[in-house]
């Protein structure tokens, strides 16, 4: 509680309209990219440990919980740039990693 209270005291000015649009867009598109990357990497990585279908099912069972965390985080974090950078960036990196892993698997 005390952490929350401390945080609450550190009130900052409301975001401008542009900042808000940038954050909502970053949260939605970034989370989607992150979810896509999560599945791409999960399927490619997981299918080295288990059958392809199991890896896909496992990734699909988890991805929506990951998305909920992404969306909440995207609105909790201070900087809009961080939202775009982390979510979209990690999404792209995971997609690429999955793609490379799957290419070697073939």
């Amino acid at each position: 509680m005390s952490v929350l209270a401390t945080l609450e005291r550190a009130k900052r000015p409301s975001p401008t309209r542009v900042q808000l649009v940038a954050r909502v867009a970053g949260a939605l598109l970034g989370s989607y990219a992150f979810g896509w990357g999560f599945i791409a990497l999960g399927v490619a990585g997981g299918s080295r440990l288990m059958p392809f279908g199991e890896a896909q099912t496992l990734a699909e069972l988890l991805v929506f919980l990951v998305l909920v965390a992404c969306l909440c985080w995207a609105f909790a974090v201070r900087s809009v740039a961080l939202v775009w950078g982390v979510l979209a960036g990690a999404g792209a990196l995971m997609t690429l990693a999955g793609w490379l892993l799957s290419g070697k698997a073939v």
């Binding site: 509680m1 929350l4 945080l7 609450e8 550190a10 009130k11 900052r12 409301s14 975001p15 954050r23 979810g35 896509w36 599945i39 791409a40 399927v43 490619a44 299918s47 288990m50 059958p51 392809f52 279908g53 199991e54 890896a55 896909q56 099912t57 496992l58 699909e60 069972l61 991805v63 929506f64 919980l65 998305l67 909920v68 969306l71 909440c72 609105f75 909790a76 974090v77 201070r78 997609t95 999955g98 793609w99 799957s102 698997a105 073939v106």
Partner: protein, 562 residues
């Protein structure tokens, strides 16, 4: 975003909840109705009011009926448009299927006909027919109101263009999960919310109490349903294996099919089908041997009329939550057993359980009713959220002369009472439209959308008092419409079918008796609500209570909400 985690979560909860709340209202409400979709079908299709039937004999009854199936005209037209050329006069049949549950008196059969499309080798159109499995009689094509209108509304809002409704529902489901998590952050005193409801206080206070109470009380239900719904459609929302891993996924699937010993393609050599009844007997024996005796829920014939044809028999999931088919596959020509599906591996079993939890094929009427109550409590939670949004802001908006609260209130009327009015209107239309009317089902649907559009216009037209921070009379008037239409539906059911409540109750025919009772209860609650709203509008002291300024609640921590 706003300096504190809790304020940021409040912003997220308020604004995403508001924008997607209207969609969520529809999804939760029609999802609740879908729990009893087959029973609503019975109410709306009087010729099908008899007891559920097991899968009839394939050899004696279904085989000749399948042979008569022809492609649907609208699917043929769509396929012609897709290909840009006329189709052959008669299309070769690919597959047959029949599906039933422990709640289905009638049986639906379908066939898939191959369409020669070089771009998509699997391209096909459907033909289907509904039969009375007691006699084999083909029933006329009628709109199955529960399973063909309310249920698809729950899944995809009937916005079929590019699956846009499915995406919207999926996004709304994700927002529901986010709203639950952020809602828990906003309301720190979860335990206290469970026991707090002050209906006598002002509307802002009591709507928030009810929002918190229903939200916390059914929290596990409200979380599991959007989540499992999303998992069911995961492949639609994230088509990763259909796009970037397409070759890998295709190779894996074909390997699976080959491992089962099932022919991937037809041989091109015509051949007769062996006795399917004998295969059903073997399948039932296999299920018994595994300690899970059961009935046939789903039966398919793949590569119909070909030497490579095979028959798949799946078990109805009436006795467990987990949705396992326990499929047993047979060679269509020799009738020998090709493959018996083993128990699913770990991740797939978890998914089977979660999917079964959402789709509830099990036979347990008390649980079924708890699903309805859970879904309706979701509606109450979402609806009171919308009402709270308006009532928290209307005084401020009235002072500043802005009309935001007014339009949100009009939309809330449309999404809450208007949705009920439209639902009851389609039931009334179902009983009133003449049986011989051309495209009767289309007219039923039109009555639904038209009534809903009318309720939107009415809600907007009557919303002016919200600008003065007063209650919109549209709430009261639409409650009266619900009371009138609900009673009318019960009365019309009696007049047009002769099945009045005393009869159906005495006979214990619950699909119709239960739905009539629900309609009467809905009408009663709506009438009581309308009277109460009327009293409040006339009584100045009650008006004062609903006008209590928002500042009153600022001392309480929950007032940070929205």
């Amino acid at each position: 975003m706003l300096g504190s985690f809790r304020l940021s979560m409040t912003w997220l909860h308020t604004w995403f909840g508001l924008v997607l709340g209207f969609v969520l209202m529809v999804v939760f409400f029609f999802g609740s109705l879908s729990v009893f979709d087959r029973e609503i079908d019975r109410w709306a299709t009087p010729s099908s009011r008899f007891e559920p039937q097991p899968m009839p004999s394939y050899d004696a009854m279904l085989a000749p009926l399948f042979a008569q199936l022809t492609p649907e005209a609208d699917e043929l037209a769509a396929a012609q448009a897709r290909l840009g050329r006329p189709l052959e006069a008669s299309l070769p049949v690919k597959n047959y299927g029949a599906y039933t549950t422990h709640r289905d008196p009638v049986l639906e059969l379908y066939a898939e006909f191959a369409v020669d499309n070089p771009e998509d080798p699997d391209d096909h159109v459907h033909g289907h027919v509904t039969i009375d499995p007691r006699s084999g009689e083909v029933l006329p094509h009628e709109l199955k109101l529960g399973s063909e209108f309310f249920y698809p509304m729950h899944l995809g809002l009937h916005l079929d263009w590019h699956f846009i409704g499915y995406y919207l529902v999926g996004f709304a489901a994700l927002v529901m999960l986010v709203a639950l998590v952020s809602g828990v952050v906003v309301h720190r005193k979860l335990w206290r919310e469970l026991f707090t409801f002050r209906p006598g206080k002002n509307l802002q206070r009591s709507s928030l109490d009810l929002h918190n109470l229903t939200g916390v009380l059914a929290l596990p239900f409200h979380f599991m349903f959007p989540l499992t719904g999303l998992i069911i459609f995961a492949g639609l929302h994230f088509p990763v294996t259909d796009t970037m891993y397409e070759p890998l996924a295709r190779a894996y699937e074909q390997g699976e099919v080959r491992a089962k010993g099932l022919p991937v393609a037809p041989a091109g050599i015509p051949a007769e089908l062996a006795s399917v009844d004998a295969m059903v007997a073997v399948a039932k024996q296999r299920w018994r041997a595994r300690g899970m005796p059961g009935q046939v829920g789903y039966l398919t014939v793949t590569h119909v009329g070909d030497a490579n044809s095979y028959v798949s028999i799946f078990r109805a999931g009436s006795d467990r939550v987990t949705l396992v088919g326990q499929g047993v596959h047979f060679s269509g020509v020799s009738g020998e057993l090709l493959h018996e599906e083993p128990p699913a591996p770990a991740a797939a079993s978890v998914k089977d359980f979660l999917v079964g939890l959402h789709l509830q094929h099990f036979e347990h009427w008390l649980l079924r009713w708890l699903y309805v109550l859970g879904g309706l409590s979701g509606c109450v939670c979402i609806g009171t959220g919308l009402v709270f949004f308006v009532n928290k802001r209307k005084h401020q908006h009235a002072r500043r002369g802005v009309s935001g609260a007014r339009w949100v209130d009009a939309l809330a009327v449309t999404a809450i009472t208007g949705m009920l009015v439209a639902t009851l209107a389609i039931l009334v239309a179902n009983r009133l439209l003449p049986a011989e009317l051309e495209q009767r089902g289309e007219w039923e649907k039109r009555s639904f959308w038209l009534t809903w559009a009318l309720s939107l216009s009415h809600a907007c037209w009557r919303s002016a008092p919200v600008r003065r921070a007063e209650l919109s009379p549209a709430w009261r008037e639409q409650c009266w419409a619900i009371a009138g239409l609900g009673s009318a539906a019960v009365l019309l059911n009696w007049l047009t079918t002769g099945d009045h409540l005393l009869d159906t109750l005495a006979a214990g025919y619950w699909p119709v008796a239960g739905f009539d009772l629900v309609l009467l209860a809905t009408a009663g609650i709506a009438a009581a609500t309308a009277r109460k709203l009327g009293k409040r509008a006339r009584d100045p002291s009650a008006r004062l209570a609903s006008h209590a300024p928002a500042a009153l609640d600022d001392a309480e921590p929950e007032a940070a909400h929205g």
